[in-house]
Structures are given as C-alpha cells and as structure tokens.
C-alpha cells in the first residue's frame, strides 16, 4: 500500500462524497458548489493520470465557465422554490437500479482477460503536454475540430434565440 494508492483512495472518497452532495442537497446553490468541488477533484485526478493540459482545460472551461453559467441561471430563476419531497418507492427503485448497474459494470470488468489490458505502461516525457495534445488534435482530428467550432457557433445562436424575451 504505497503513497500513490492511498492518495488515490483519498481523492476517490472526496469525489464520491461531493457527487453525493450534488444529488442529495435541497438547495440548488449548494448543489452547484458541490459540483464545482467535484470538478476540482476531477482535475487533480487528471493530473495524476499524466493529462496536465486536459486538467487545466477542466478547470478553465468546466469549473470556470460552465458552472458559473449554472450559478447565474440559478440566481436568475428564483431559487426559493421548494422542491417537493421524494416518494419512497421512487428512491428505492432508483437505488436498486443504480446498484444493479454498478454490479454489472463490475462484472464486465472482472473477467480474466480484462486485467491484461489494464496494466499501465510507462509513458514518454511529453505525454499529456499541450504540445502532444495539439499535435494529435491538429494532425488526426482536424476535421472534428473545425466542426466543433461550428457547433459552438450554433449553440451560441441557439441559446440567444431560446432565452431572449420576445419583444411585444
């Protein structure tokens, strides 16, 4: 049991608790904050996995832009509205399905040939760096890259169109 594994478990525990907070607290603002925290922990996990660039992007884009947007909207729409409470049977069914899903995934991963593919190998020095990411992105994935930019444009226009007040 070395440091790395211990660190991983610690981060994992944090992650899970923050996620549970996201789905369980009443107040949407608290929920949003828990999600921000979860995203931060996720970024740290990314760093552990030799993906510094993606980790930075996670914090900048996800935690920084998307969550801020969430908070804006929460504030815009009156957060005081009380959510009706959950019927018990619904929670039970959901929990059962969730557990089932987990079990199945575990089952999928535990076959003998699964273990083979998962042994980590060592990677080169520049793995996960901006240069490496850029190189793969602009050489192999340039078309999806361009299309993604078009998609963002469409999303902007769509959002503006959907959310504007229709002037009388």
């Amino acid at each position: 049991m070395n440091v790395e594994v211990l660190g991983f478990f610690f981060l994992a525990a944090l992650m899970v608790s923050f996620s549970l907070l996201v789905i369980l607290v009443r107040n949407p603002v608290h929920s949003a904050l828990a999600l921000v925290a979860a995203l931060f922990v996720m970024a740290i996990l990314f760093l552990n996995l030799d993906a510094p660039m993606v980790a930075a992007l996670q914090i900048l884009v996800y935690a920084g832009a998307v969550m801020v947007l969430f908070l804006f909207v929460i504030m815009l729409l009156n957060p005081a509205s009380v959510e009706p409470s959950l019927p018990v049977w619904r929670g039970v069914v959901c929990a059962a399905c969730a557990l089932l899903m987990l079990a199945l995934i575990a089952l999928l991963m535990s076959g003998p040939d699964q273990a083979e593919a998962l042994h980590p190998s060592s990677v080169g020095a520049g793995f996960g760096s901006p240069e490496a990411l850029g190189e793969t992105l602009f050489n192999d994935f340039v078309l999806p890259f361009e299309i993604a930019s078009v998609l963002l444009l469409v999303a902007i226009i769509g959002a503006v169109a959907l959310a504007r007040r229709v002037s009388e």
Binding site: C97, L100, M101, L104, I105, L107, L108
Partner: protein, 642 residues
C-alpha cells in the same frame, strides 16, 4: 389434300370469323354515330362475307380438311394449345347453316328491329354471336371450341335480356346463362378428365385429329365418364332434360334472336360437339344409350307441354327442345350423319317458323297470345304460306325436308345396332304429337274466327319485303334441303356419302331391309297425318278456340301440362331457394361476423395493444430517462452475462 390452290384458301379461314367480329366491334364503337340503318347494313355485310367464304371452303375434298394455324395460345408443361381453325366437311355444313341462315335472319332483323331504339346494339351482339358460333365450329381443338361455347352463351344472355328495362327479360337472360353454366361445369370436368387421360399417355394436345388418333388408348370406364360429362354440357347448351328449362324463358328476347340462336345455331352446338367427338362417343356405348333415351324422353316430354301452350313462341320453343331430342336420339343410335342432317333441315324450317311467328307478332303490334289471334289468313298472304310450308316440314309431310330427316332418325332408332323398339315407339308417338301441336297453332292463328282486339285489328299489316323475302327463301329451303339426304332407294344418299370419310360407315342397317324401311316410313306418315287431322277437327271444324279437348279444360292434366309439369317450381324449391338462402346467410351473418370480425378484430387488437403501450409516453422526461436506464441495464447485462 391438294396443295397449290387450296393452300391459299387455308389462310382465308381466319377471315370467316374475323368479318363478324369486326362488324360487332365497329358497331359497338361507332354504331351510334353511324346511325341505325348503316349499322344494320354493316352487320349484314359482315355475315354475307363470311357466308361467301364458307361456300368456297365447302369445296374441301373428301376426308381432307383446311387448316389455318394462327398462333400458339397455351404452352404449359405437356399442354400445348393453339388458336387454329379447321374446316372439314362437318364444319363446312355447320358454317353454311350459321352464316347462310344467319345472313337471312340479319336481313329480316333490318325490318323487325327497324324501329327499335337499341338496333345498333342489337346488330353488334348478333354479329358477335355469329363470330363465337363460327369460332365454335371452326376450332381445331376442344379448348378453342369451349371458348366459342362460352361466347355464344354470353351473346345469348345479352340478346335474351336485350330489352333490359323490363325486368322479366333480364331474369330470363340470367336463367339461361346460369343453367348453361351448370352444364358447362360438367363440360369442363369432361375436358379436364380427357386431358388427364391423354397426358397419362404422354399426349398434351386437345386437337381433334390428335384425339381421334389416340382415343382408343383410354380405358373404357374412363371414356364413359368423360363422354357423360361432355354430354352434361350438351344438355345445358342444347336444352335437354334436365337443363332445358332456360329455353322457353329465352323467348323473352326478340324473335329473330329466338330464330337464330335458340333454333338454328346455338342450341345445336351440343349436337355438333357430339358429332365432332364421335370417335370418343362410339367408344362408350353406355353413354350412347343414355344419350338416346334422354333425347327421346325430352322429345316426348316437351311435345306434351307444347300441346297446351298459348304463347305462339312458347309452342315453338318446346318444339325446338323436342326436335333437339330427336337429334340426340340419332346420336345415341350411332347415326351421326342423320343427326347432322336433322340439324340441317331443322335449321331451315324452325327458323322459318320463328320468323313467320315474328312476322305475325310484328303485324299485330306485339301480340303473342294465340287466344287473341285467329282468322289472320287474309291479312298475311306471304306469311301464311311460309308458315304452312314450314309446319308441314316439321310434321314430316311427304317430300318436305323434315320428312326425310325425321324418317331417317326414326328408322335408325329402330334398326341401328344401338337402337331399340322402345326408342322408336316413343319417337313415333312424338312425331304424331308434333304434327298435332304445330297444326293446332297454325289453325288457331290463321283460321277460325278472328279474336283479335279491336284496336289491333285496325293496324294489322303484312310484313315488308325485307322480312318476307328471307321467309320465302327459308320456306324454299325447308322443302329443298331434304333432298340432300334422301334415302338410297329414292335417289341416293348424297348426304351420307358426303360424310363417309368423316364418320366412317354409319350404322349399317343393310339393304335387305328396304321393305322394312318403307313400312316404317308409312307408319310415320300415318301418325303425322293423324295428328294434323285431329287438329283440323278440333280447331277448325268444332270451332273450339283454345281449349284442349279430350283433356277437360282446367282439368288436372291440362293444368299439369300448362304448368310445364311444374319443373321450374321444383327446381326453385329444391335448388334455388336453398342456395339463395345460403347465400343470404353468408352475406348477412358469415361475412359480417366472421370475416369482417376477423379483420376488424385484428385492427381492434392492434388498437388495444397501442392503447396500453402508449402509456409509456407519459410526457415526463424522467420516466423516459428511466426507460433509457432500463435499456442500458439490459445491454450491460447481455454483455456481462450472456
């Protein structure tokens, strides 16, 4: 068969049916635009053309045949059928009758139907009929013959119900077609069975020449069955027991139609068919017996009904049934050429009788009940004589056509190896009855005091020349046609020699029996004379207008005969009612409940199913997401476990 000149005429064969077909199509398509008179002339011209061609084709030599193959029709497995025409001596005679007498009747119709609204349609149908009838007799195989057979049935239906605004006419047309259909069912079964047997021998053709060569290969029991089935078809088309009931009702149609279709041509198709397939029938003596006895029983049965009928055309209709019975007696006795001979002479005098009756009806502005006629001799100078000649012919008066043909049949009925005394006896009695009822009709119509109603009396007129000329020609034929078949001792049987190669040597009765033959001749003459005499006494001397003496008027026998032995009523109760009852049960109960129920039930089932399934579309997004989850679980489960 000589090549050269005659091979050219082979190709002309196809023109014989084509001319009336074209006439029919022209009249159907352009008739209304052309006008009534031109349409009629087109029709007459078409038939005249066919007639002239048929005369030319009659030059076919002994034992030979002109053939004209048009195109292959069916080629399926072993079965190979072509549309091809064949004119040999038998078909030459038939063609002569169909187109010759057909032509005269067409000309007559120009006058009879001259004022009718539907004259164009009439001539179109009449031409169409000639086409199908010609097709029937010119076909070189059994299947094409059947096409013509069905076609003439169709035209008969169309023409019987010609004045279709009167419902009674359409009912009569239906009856004719449906009863014929029953016969045709038997006919078809016969054809199928024949083909079955032939294909068992490896032969896939229904061509007559091929059939004749190979008929002996079929087992005797099978041949009997086949011929009985084919004869069933003949009983329908040629109005024998039990399928004769449509012919009297067919008198609802115009009188020229009755003359052409229901006297001279269509009804003789059954006789023609048996003659054409004589090689098959001679292999089945049992069937021939059946045919002979059905023929003779039909003859006397119909004759008794004709004794008391009051409608001028009904008498002639039953007379036709009776005379057709005679033809079948000849067939049953194996005397095929005698049967065709009677067919030939009967065409002349029966057509003459019908057309003369038509002339009277036309002159009396539509009156058909003999009880409203009488003393018409001064008003109908030409018709009177043509009628008299034809009536004498049918009664077998000496030297008329009927004399020779009927006598020949009666003689064969007795003397032929397949004949018998009983057969002759019934036929002989019928001859007497025939003479009686024909002259009963003659005296009732033309002699005695006039019972014509006043307003008709002022309009009585003889028919125009376009009608009387054909009458005269037919009357002449009623006398002269008989000489073709005069017995040997009177000058040579040209007729029998003509058919020798075709039918083979006919039922040979031997020359040593000439005295017996003469005896029977005298007997026949005697009973005919007796019939005429009794009619004269009862209807002229005793001035009994229309009651049948000897049989108490309104007595039981009279009612039985007048009611045609109530056969129609029996058929109705035993067959028609149950069938129509069944049909209405099907329509009202079975179809709506079961079939519609099944179809609607399927639709209803789907509706119910969708009614329950659509509850999945609850409108709640989270429900949909839950369904996603379940689906994902299933897929995961499949990969994890399965």
């Amino acid at each position: 068969m000589e090549p050269g000149a005659l091979t050219i005429s082979s190709a002309l064969l196809r023109l014989i049916p084509t001319a009336p077909l074209l006439g029919a199509l022209l009249n159907l398509a352009f008739g209304p635009r052309l006008g009534r008179k031109p349409a009629g002339l087109i029709a007459c011209a078409a038939v005249a053309f066919s007639f002239l061609l048929s005369l030319y084709c009659a030059l076919v030599p002994q034992g030979g045949a002109l053939k004209d193959i048009l195109f292959p029709w069916i080629e399926s497995g072993l079965l190979k059928v072509e549309v091809a025409f064949q004119v040999d001596r038998l078909s030459a005679v038939m063609l002569f009758v169909i187109t010759g007498i057909g032509f005269l009747i067409h000309v007559y119709s120009l006058g009879y139907m001259g004022h009718d609204e539907g004259m164009v349609r009439y001539f179109a149908y009449l031409n169409l009929f000639v086409f199908f009838m010609v097709l029937l007799v010119m076909a070189d195989n059994l299947l094409l013959l059947f096409v013509g057979w069905e076609g003439v049935g169709l035209c008969s239906f169309l023409l019987i119900g010609f004045w279709h605004h009167d419902h009674a006419n359409t009912i009569a047309g239906n009856k004719a077609f449906i009863v014929n259909r029953i016969g045709d069912f038997g006919f078809l079964l016969g054809i199928f069975l024949l083909f079955w047997e032939m294909s068992g021998q490896g032969i896939g053709s229904l061509n007559f020449t091929v059939l004749e060569r190979n008929a002996h290969l079929i087992a005797p029991a099978r041949v009997t069955l086949i011929t009985l089935l084919l004869f069933a078809g003949a009983t329908g088309k040629s109005a024998q027991i039990p399928l004769y009931v449509w012919l009297p009702d067919a008198m609802q149609g115009p009188t020229p139609v009755s003359a052409l279709i229901h006297a001279a041509t269509m009804v003789t198709a059954g006789v023609y068919m048996t003659a054409r397939l004589h090689f098959l029938f001679t292999l089945a003596p049992a069937t021939l017996q059946v045919i002979a006895w059905i023929g003779v029983l039909t003859a006397i049965f119909a004759a008794t009904i004709a004794l008391v009928q009051n409608d001028i055309k009904r008498v002639l209709a039953y007379s036709t049934v009776s005379q057709l019975g005679y033809m079948f007696v000849a067939v049953g006795a194996g005397a095929f050429s005698a049967a065709i001979f009677h067919l030939f002479t009967h065409a002349f005098f029966k057509a003459c009788l019908f057309l003369s009756a038509g002339s009277v009806i036309h002159g009396l502005e539509g009156e058909q009940d003999m009880r409203q006629m009488g003393g018409l001799k001064p008003h109908f100078p030409v018709t009177y004589w043509t009628y008299l000649i034809a009536a004498l012919a049918i009664s077998g008066a000496p030297l008329t056509a009927g004399f020779f043909s009927k006598d020949l049949i009666l003689w064969q009925a007795f003397a032929s190896p397949k004949g018998s005394f009983g057969l002759w006896l019934v036929g002989w009695i019928t001859a007497g009855l025939t003479a009686f009822y024909m002259f009963r009709q003659f005296f009732l119509v033309f002699h005695g005091e006039s019972r014509v109603t006043a307003n008709v009396r002022s309009h009585i007129h003889e028919s125009p020349a376009v009608m009387t000329v054909p009458l005269v020609l037919l009357a002449a034929g009623s006398i002269l046609a008989g000489w073709l078949g005069a017995p040997e001792y009177m000058g040579g049987s040209w007729w029998e020699h003509w058919f020798e190669s075709f039918f083979g040597v006919q039922a040979d009765t031997g020359h040593a029996q000439i005295s017996a033959e003469l005896l029977f001749l005298v007997l026949t003459l005697a009973i005919s004379a007796l019939g005429i005499f009794v009619a004269y006494v009862l209807y002229v001397r005793a001035r009994q207008s229309f009651k049948s003496p000897g049989l108490a008027p309104d007595g039981a026998i009279h009612r039985l005969l007048l009611g045609k032995y109530f056969v129609d009523e029996a058929y109705d109760a035993l067959l028609v009612r149950p069938l129509t009852g069944f049909a209405s049960w099907l329509a009202s109960t079975f179809d709506p409940r079961l079939i519609d129920g099944a179809v609607n039930g399927v639709a209803g089932g789907f509706w119910t199913m969708s009614f329950h399934w659509r509850r999945l579309q609850s409108g709640y997004v989270q429900h949909y997401l839950f369904v996603f989850l379940v689906g994902a679980l299933v897929v995961l489960g499949y990969f994890a476990i399965g």
